[in-house]
Amino acid sequence: MSVVSIGRATRPHTEPAVADPHPGRGLLQDEPLIFELDAWEKTGVDFPPEELGEAPDGSDLAGLTRAEPLALPGLSEPEVMRHYVRLSQKNHAIDLALYPLGSCTMKHNPRLNEKLARLPGFADLHPLQPVSTAQGALALMDTLAHWLKTLTGMPAVALSPKAGAHGELCGLLAIRAAHEARGDARRTVLVPTSAHGTNPATATHVGYQVEEIAQTADGHVDIADLAARLNEDVAAVMVTNPNTCGLFERDVIEIARLTHAAGAYFYCDGANFNAIVGRVRPGDLGVDAMHINLHKTFSTPHGGGGPGAGPVVFSAALAPHAPVPWITHGEGGFALVEHAEGEAAGALGRRCAFHGQMGMYVRALAYMMSHGADGLRQVAEDAVLNANYVKARLSGVMTAAYPDGPCMHEALFDDRWLEGSGVTTLDFAKAMIDAGFHPMTMYFPLVVHGAMLIEPTETESRRELDRFCDTLLELAAAVRAGDTERFTGAPFHAPLRRLDETAAARKPRLRWTG
């Protein structure tokens, strides 16, 4: 048992022999799986008994029904509440503390947006009911489209993509359609090494080959390398801007120019749009297509993994190839173009059933209207200010990957400062958990060794930023002091200790089997 000081330095204490808290002690409840609650024969939903007698008779479903009744537990409502409330308390959340996952833009999710998305006029609306009975919904989508186009300075937008990665597919499919329309069958997409994994995955998923573009020592696209790789087989250049190192691609206009000169299109990964919204329009940079993660910049909640929404804005060159559906406005109000034929024959096709993530559109538009043009600009400024503040406060101790010049919305550190300490980036991150914070994004981007990518977002107060920086500095001091155990054994204070991910992958147990 080692004696270490943890948390804010004011209250040193003895490290317990085993970790705390333990589920099942104090307020933190232990909770079995729903399959372990002895509820196989019950149900927590009541139905009018009189109609249940009417079993399907021979005429309809003879021979089509299950041989064995479906075996799933049905809990009473009190049991269900307990189950999920107990489980919920084992999660970190943006509502609990700063959540500095770089590239994820974990910002505050206004509750007004949740309320509005639940208005029956939006939530209880069928995608295929007559459009004459859904004019308000189409108006909302049209308004959202207007905001997105104005903020990006682009002439067209496809709302339907269901997340950023789905938007990337959409963008590349439009690019493919544009080339095909010219009879140009290009096969390669250029992607910087620092790109998010979805970028290369997207390119191959729609049948392109990926070639990597080198990165300069100061964290930017290597223009010379790009120029060298551009040729008539290159369909698109996919660049993230601001990039995943948290830097604005200074040469972005040149990148666009070179790309266009080679007959390729410039796809911009807009996951980091939060850093520039209201201050820079991608349309002014020569971008041809860019997805916008509404669940990042426009604050629709991440929900533990989704849903999101990934509208894609298009340049005039690509606009004719946008997927269906889209909205038109005429005499009779708003209408939907739902089939890639006739006037829509240039469309790349359809990407999903129905019209996209309406629930997210409501939230995103409420967010935009709340901030307004002025507030959105302030969002970018505060996001960048907060990141630079963290970078400034931590740089004395941790090694910034790109110390010179300002960063954008996230501060990137590498692990040089941990060298020889016996503490890895992962260990350091797990110790942050003990101190009450969610770790930053780790080991991404790949171009930086042991990367730690910190994105505080604009919805953090200076007080919370200071608390965060103080904690990291205190932890860093503990690293220097050789308190290795505090890191290698961490977390000690989470609901569980460090989990064995290798064992999980070796013999996967992906469902409960009793």
Partner: protein
């Protein structure tokens, strides 16, 4: 601005710590030509009351499904979701968390995913289920891509009963990757036609049951035919509630099953967000798209859950990944899982029976109208009727009378030559009064 905690004093103090003269200094890397001098041309900030008023006004321009008689289905279903479901998914700890990358402080989400996977597996009758896809249609497209990878073949046969928008979404994606899709002619009851279309390059056969016309089929014979030819069978389900009663895809021999999970726990939402269910045989797991949650232990030997087999995924495997999916439909999966944990097997079976009973009542009422003919055999809760007139204008006319009568099949398949066919659906939310209202209004409209 109510969402921005920094005061001007904070900002000034922080710039000083950073050593920047002003905020513009932090945007120095932006080319001068691209710097906007002031706010873009959009309205300025608005208070909560103002925003609520504006968006409520838009909502009021829509006719909510629950506001009166309502009979649309065709891939999106109006079911009653218990209030506790929506309450729980709004818990901060579920709503405002990210993908569970740090399992020690994400056991809530992870245990839910493990339970969800087990539920989906049981529902679809297959041993492995993933942690959700965007929706049923994109899950269908990914299933086809997976089948092509698994079989190293280049063709997918899509049944004529597959939801046309599923077929379109699948075609768009598959085509780009060089996988040919062969969609059979739209047909109310011709699932067996796929058998004849299977050939040596067939990677998979995609069959929906109940199909887009509401007709359920035991696809076991298709499984046999596909397997005999070395192809996979992909079964698509758009109405998850049917699985309370009907044979599961796995039971009928599916290799991969995908479903739209919206019916359970999730509202109509004008089409999204929904939740795609994806399950497959054990042997195929390493080719499956999407996240997987697995059981493991912590350093003290206690059970815990983690995301696993991520070497399939984009963030590890990059251009070799099985899919590019990242954000999925976590919160909708949570809603699905909560609702299903209330229902249980017992409740879902009852719900399915109730749906079926209401649809039978609806069919009886509609077919009593002269000139209206039910076309769908083996109906679960949805069926097609042939009308003595074109369906789309009739639906408009009925909407004008306050009745949302259903989906004209021409909306999904404009060139299909089925202009006089209307898809109608009844669920547990459909009352006898609703049915009377539709039957009455329809009879009147037809009599005009």
């Amino acid at each position: 601005m109510r969402y921005l905690p920094l005061s001007d004093r904070d900002r000034a103090g922080m710039l000083a710590v950073i050593g920047a003269a002003d905020i513009d200094a932090l945007f120095a890397d932006v080319p001068a030509a691209a710097r906007l001098a002031g706010p873009v041309d959009l309205p300025l900030a608005a208070g909560e009351l103002e925003v609520e008023r504006a968006l409520s006004a838009l909502a009021a321009q829509n006719r909510a499904a629950g506001a009166g008689p309502f009979f649309c289905g065709a891939g999106a279903y109006r079911h009653h979701v218990p209030a506790s479901v929506d309450h729980l998914i709004q818990r901060s700890e579920f709503l405002t968390s990210y993908t569970p990358y740090q399992p020690e402080i994400a056991q809530g989400t992870l245990q839910v995913l493990f339970e969800f996977q087990t539920q989906v597996g049981a529902l679809l009758g297959l041993p492995v289920a993933n942690a959700s896809m965007y929706d049923g249609s994109t899950a269908c497209a990914e299933a086809v891509m997976m089948a092509a990878r698994v079989t190293r073949r280049g063709k997918a046969i899509l049944s004529g009963g597959l939801h046309p928008q599923y077929a379109a979404a699948t075609h768009t994606l598959a085509h780009s990757a060089g996988v040919e899709t062969c969609r059979l002619a739209t047909a109310i009851d011709a699932e067996d036609a796929v058998v004849a279309a299977i050939d040596a390059d067939t990677a998979c056969v995609v069959v929906q049951t109940p199909n887009v016309f509401g007709s359920a089929t035991d696809v076991s014979f298709i499984a046999q035919a596909a397997h005999a030819a070395g192809a996979l069978l992909i079964v698509v389900v758009t109405e998850a509630v049917s699985l309370g009663l009907l044979k599961s895809p796995g039971e009928m021999g599916a290799d991969i099953a995908v479903a739209e999970g919206q019916s359970i726990g999730n509202g109509l939402n004008f089409g999204g967000p929904y939740v795609g269910l994806f399950a497959c045989r054990e042997a195929l797991v390493r080719q499956a798209p999407g996240r997987l949650c697995g059981e493991t232990v912590d350093a003290e030997g206690r059970r815990g859950f983690v995301l696993t087999l991520s070497t399939r995924e984009q963030h590890i495997r990059r251009d070799k990944a099985t899919s590019n999916i990242c954000t999925n439909s976590g919160l909708c999966a949570l809603a699905f899982s909560i609702h299903l944990s209330l229902l249980g097997g017992v409740g879902l079976a009852r719900l399915a029976r109730l749906n079926h009973a209401r649809a039978r009542a609806l069919r009886a009422a509609l077919t009593a109208i002269p000139g209206v003919e039910a076309l769908t055999p083996r109906m679960f809760n949805e069926f097609a009727v042939r009308l003595p007139t074109s369906a789309a204008p009739l639906v408009e006319a009925l909407a004008g009378r306050g009745v949302i009568a259903g989906v004209p099949i021409s909306r999904l398949d404009p060139g299909g030559g089925l202009d006089d066919v209307l898809l109608v659906c009844a669920t547990e939310t459909t009352t006898a009064a609703d049915i009377d209202a539709l039957a009455g209004a329809l009879a009147e409209e037809l009599a005009r």
